[in-house]
Point group: C2
Chain length 198, copies 2
Amino acid sequence: MKELKDRIRKDGKIKAGNVLKVDSFLNHQMDIRLFEKIGQEFKRRFADAEINKILTIEASGIGIACVVAQSFDVPVVFAKKTQTKNIAGEVYTTKVESYTHGRIYDIIVSKEFLGKGDKVLLIDDFLANGKALEGLAQLVADSGAELVGAGIVIEKGFQVGGDMLREKGIRVESLAIVDSMDDKTGTITFRGDDADEQ
Amino acid sequence: MKELKDRIRKDGKIKAGNVLKVDSFLNHQMDIRLFEKIGQEFKRRFADAEINKILTIEASGIGIACVVAQSFDVPVVFAKKTQTKNIAGEVYTTKVESYTHGRIYDIIVSKEFLGKGDKVLLIDDFLANGKALEGLAQLVADSGAELVGAGIVIEKGFQVGGDMLREKGIRVESLAIVDSMDDKTGTITFRGDDADEQ
C-alpha cells in the first residue's frame, strides 16, 4: 500500500535494535483518515472472503480494527490481556509471550462472542515474532470458528512471525513488509511492490 | 440518546454490586454502526466547540474514540497504562486508581502528541468514580492544551464521578446516565430524557 509506505518513510523513526516507531500516526496518536484507507485496502484484498467478525487484541489493534470493520460491516471483538472482574467467567484463553514487554500474559475472549459459524479476520498493527497473532489464531481454533486470515498493517519481514504463520496455512495480508531498516542512515527497504500496488 | 438507552435496556446485563455489563456491544464485542451514531451525537452536542484532538485511555475507550473521531475529523491519542520500551522517554504522566482492577497505575502520553494549541475532547466508554477522566484531564492541563470537555457513552449517575468533574468546571456530555439499576428485577432507570433527545 503505497500511501502507507510513504507515510512510514516520512514519519516513522528507526531506533537501534530494529525498533520502528510509528506512534505519530499508527499506535499512540492515530490518523483516522489513514485507518479508513487501510480498511478499504484490506477489504480489497479480502474481497473474495466471507467475513462476519474481526478479532484483534488490546490495545493498539483496537482503533485500527474498529475503523477497518466499517469497510466489512462487521462487529469487532478484542482479546483482553488479563482477566478482570467485569468479564464473564466463561472465556477462551491462551498464553502469549510479549516481545515489547518481555513477559508472558494471558489473553482471553468471552465464549459469548466467538464460536462456531464465525468467519474471523484477525487485525493487528504489527507482525514481528507472531506470538500475538498465533495466540489469537489459537482462540479462534478453540472456539470452533473459522479463521479466514490476518490483516496486518506493518510486518517486520526480517522477523520470524510472517513465515511462521504462513507455514501454518494462515493467509496473512500485510500492507507494508519491512525487509530491512538502518537506524544509522534512516533508510527502510520494503518488500518488492506488488503488481497491484495502490 | 434514545437508541443507546434502548440498546442498554435490551442487551445490558445488571449484576450484583451495581455492575452493568454491556460487553456484547460496547467494550468487548463492539457494534461499529452504533459507534458511528454515538460519534454523530457527540458531534451534535459539541457542535459549538472547536476541537482538534480526541484523547482517550486504553483499552475500551480506543475503539469508540476512533469512530467518534471520524465525525470530528481529528486524530486520536490514547493514554497508555504502563511505560513500555516503545514509548518516547518524554511523557506526561499521572496516577489513576482503577475501580475495575482495584489498583493504582500510571497513565502516560508522549509530549509529542499533546500540547499548547490542542483543543481536546476526552472520550471514554464509562464514567463511574471519574478517576480515569480526572487523570486524562490532568495530562491535558500538564501539557498546556485546552480541555474542551468529555464525551461519555454511559455515566453511572449514582457514583461520584460526574458530579466531581462538573464541579471542577469540566463540560461532561453523557449519552446515557444511569440513575439506578436493580439486578433482581433487571430494571434500569435513566436520568430524565432531555428535550432534545434523539
